[in-house]
């Protein structure tokens, strides 16, 4: 039986490479193996969002049943976003689940993810902590998301205060990422974060 998934991905791969978005450096895809079953995607953080200036790497796994089922996509780059798990990088996006349609492609997936970064849907969250912050304290959310973009996606440095607080926790013997998660979850309240980490 002909392998439709591989054949299809091969064509789509060419489509993405030639697309204008690639020319503008907005999206990128690379092969991870020669069987076209795993790819590495990259999307640029959209302008005027806390993700601006960052580059987000994605793991794309193509199931044998592609394109009848969606590719399995998750963020490798750690990201602070209501619809993306800050722990696993799992994504909550309808087209990657039951709204998938066989005519969609790698390009549409990458562009949809970029659109998701620009417009979160906090009512259908993948990360409850981030979603709560997004709804209750939007400025705090933006600060945190920008901070994560700086720390993990090569975005511009923004708030030295955050870095200081992380350093304080690291000095206490906490691992840096763990410190960042705790501070982010408690709206950068150093006391509460410390309490949680040492309880």
């Amino acid at each position: 039986m002909a392998n439709i998934a591989a054949q299809r991905i091969k064509r789509e791969f060419k489509e993405v490479i030639r697309s204008e978005e690639v020319a503008k450096c907005a999206i990128k895809v690379e092969l991870v193996d020669n069987n076209y079953t795993e790819l590495k995607g990259e999307i640029a953080g959209p302008p005027d969002t806390p993700y601006e200036g960052g580059n987000f790497v994605l793991e794309i796994k193509v199931p044998e049943t592609y394109p009848f089922n969606p590719p399995k996509v998750r963020f490798i780059t750690k990201i602070w976003h209501p619809n993306i798990s800050s722990v696993t990088g799992a994504i909550c996006l309808d087209i990657l689940k039951d709204q998938w349609a066989a005519a969609m492609t790698l390009r549409t997936v990458l562009l949809s993810l970029q659109a998701l970064l620009a417009a979160a849907e906090p009512d259908d969250p993948q990360d409850a902590v981030v979603a709560r912050q997004y709804k209750e304290n939007l400025e705090m959310f933006k600060l945190t998301a920008r901070h994560w973009t700086n720390a993990y996606a090569g975005g511009p440095s923004v708030n030295p205060e955050c870095d200081d607080k992380i350093k304080r926790l690291v000095d206490m013997g906490i691992e840096e990422h763990q410190a960042r998660v705790a501070l982010s979850s408690y709206n950068w309240d150093l006391e509460r974060a410390t309490e949680q980490l040492f309880s």
């Binding site: 394109p67 009848f68 089922n69 722990v87 696993t88 066989a102 005519a103």
Partner: protein, 478 residues
């Protein structure tokens, strides 16, 4: 005459054996496919004591004109031509010389799109068939050559050859089932062909009989049916199932799945967008959806699929299209359809790998015995039968998640933190709490959506009950 015919055999290169059905009996004659209808009349007339001019030759709903050559008629070995005596009536039209055979008249393009809107525009008067060929709305079909290439192809499932074959469209009287029947107008679309009582005609079999009985009630209608064109006809009851969603890819539409343009037959989904898939991709589509149990038990059509692009109202009505699957997968299709039926009737499936038999059992009883493999199991947890409460699900090396099939277990003893940060998450299955279909979790969150079409129950992997906001807060990721 017979003498003449047999002596002629030496020079006939291809002999075609056909049957001539007259009002009284059936003659078997061997002819050269290059013969025209006039020559057939000349052969048949003396055998039944009539003049050639008194005969009408009817085939597939059409009276054939004298100058029609047999080989243009899509007439297979051992086909039947109907010969009837001309009524002493004034001809309906001065140029009423009979017609071209149906296969010459039908144009692929009018059958290609399923959309009714495009077909309604063509209205044809009785016998006025010459217009149809030129009536095509597509601008690019003008030259004669193209019209020839565009000869219609029907695809059928042939129960004799057991496979997808090219089919031939045939017509008979819907009342007396006689093939000596002429249509008043040509079918313009699939609805005309597939549905009852769409096209009227004249039954030439026993005109008095059919007309008298039906008089004042309804006209005589044509009944269309299909034959396989790849085996010698086994008689009038040798029919094939029209797989009308399989069409020649005339418009050269790209396959929705592999993005190639197939030059063979393609599968056209019954959706507004006329999405097309090459047959290999269609088979793959069926097989993967079968494995995922994503076929849908439709109340009218049966166990079926819709367009994979999620188009509205796109279910495949004729489930014989799934005969495209190989025997093994078609058996699986049948088994799953039966199982789905059992599930919908409140039954459950045997959890033994490789068995999966549908079981309709008393809902009060926790102890279920599979009649197929004799496995005795617990209705609640689908594990081997046990007395008392269901225990944790046995799972090789990962028994630390205390899971229970009892719904009383609260979400709160969840184990946040540790499990979430664990990098390798073991793939395992648990039954959907609603329909008991084994469901696999492949990492990601604990929010499960049952993969079985028709269930789609949202449930919690940890609690094995319906997904709640508490589950979201307490153990979303583990």
């Amino acid at each position: 005459m017979l003498q003449l015919l047999s002596s002629k055999k030496h020079i006939i290169e291809n002999i075609l054996r056909i049957y001539i059905k007259t009002s009284g009996n059936t003659l078997c004659i061997d002819i050269d496919p290059k013969y025209d209808i006039r020559q057939i009349k000349n052969i048949v007339a003396p055998k039944i004591g009539l003049e050639p001019d008194e005969l009408k030759v009817i085939f597939a709903g059409k009276e054939l004109a004298d100058n029609i050559v047999i080989e243009d008629c899509d007439l297979g070995e051992q086909s039947i031509l109907h010969v009837v005596k001309v009524k002493e009536k004034v001809p309906k039209k001065i140029n009423d010389y009979g017609m071209k055979p149906l296969c010459e008249i039908l144009d692929d393009s009018m059958f290609s799109p399923i959309s009714e809107s495009r077909n309604n525009s063509i209205s044809v008067e009785a016998n006025d068939v010459a217009h149809i060929l030129n009536n095509d709305t597509d601008a690019n079909i003008t030259s004669n050559q193209q019209v020839l290439v565009k000869k219609i192809h029907f695809y059928v499932y042939c129960p004799t050859c057991k496979g997808l074959k090219q089919g031939k469209l045939r017509v008979r009287c819907n009342f007396c089932k006689s093939g000596a029947f002429t249509v008043h107008s040509d079918p313009q679309n699939w609805t005309h062909v597939l549905e009852n009582k769409q096209i009227t005609g004249t039954c030439e079999n026993d005109t008095q009989f059919c007309e008298d009985i039906l008089q004042n009630r309804e006209p005589t209608f044509a009944e269309f049916y299909f034959k396989c064109s790849e085996h010698i006809s086994l008689g009038e009851n040798d029919q094939a199932v029209p797989l009308y969603l399989i069409r020649p890819n005339l418009k050269q539409i790209q396959c929705l799945a592999c993005l190639d343009i197939s030059y063979d037959a393609v599968f056209v989904f019954p959706c507004q967008n006329d999405h097309v898939m090459c047959l290999d991709c269609f088979k793959q589509y069926c097989m993967s959806k079968l494995t995922e149990r994503q076929f849908w038990q439709h109340p009218e059509y049966g166990y079926t699929l819709a367009c994979p692009n999620g188009c509205a109202d796109s279910f495949i009505k004729e489930i014989h299209h799934f005969r495209l699957l190989d025997d093994q997968n078609y058996d699986r299709y049948h088994r799953f359809a039966t199982e789905e039926f059992v599930l919908q009737s409140g039954g459950l499936l045997c959890p033994q790998p490789g068995c999966g038999m549908g079981i309709l059992a008393d809902t009060d009883c926790k102890r279920i015995t599979c009649q197929g493999c004799k496995y005795v199991f617990c209705r609640l947890c689908l594990q081997g039968y046990h007395i008392g409460e269901c225990g944790p699900i046995e799972n090789d090396d990962l028994n630390n998640q205390s899971t229970s099939c009892e719904s009383e277990l609260s979400c709160n003893n969840g184990n946040n933190g540790e499990i979430a940060s664990r990098t390798t998450i073991k793939i395992m299955t648990k039954p959907c709490p609603s329909c008991k279909t084994p469901t696999e979790r492949d990492g990601g969150c604990m929010h499960m959506i049952c993969t079985r079409a028709g269930c789609k129950f949202h449930w919690c992997w940890v609690c094995q009950t319906e997904w709640t906001t508490e589950c979201m807060g307490d153990h979303w990721f583990g």
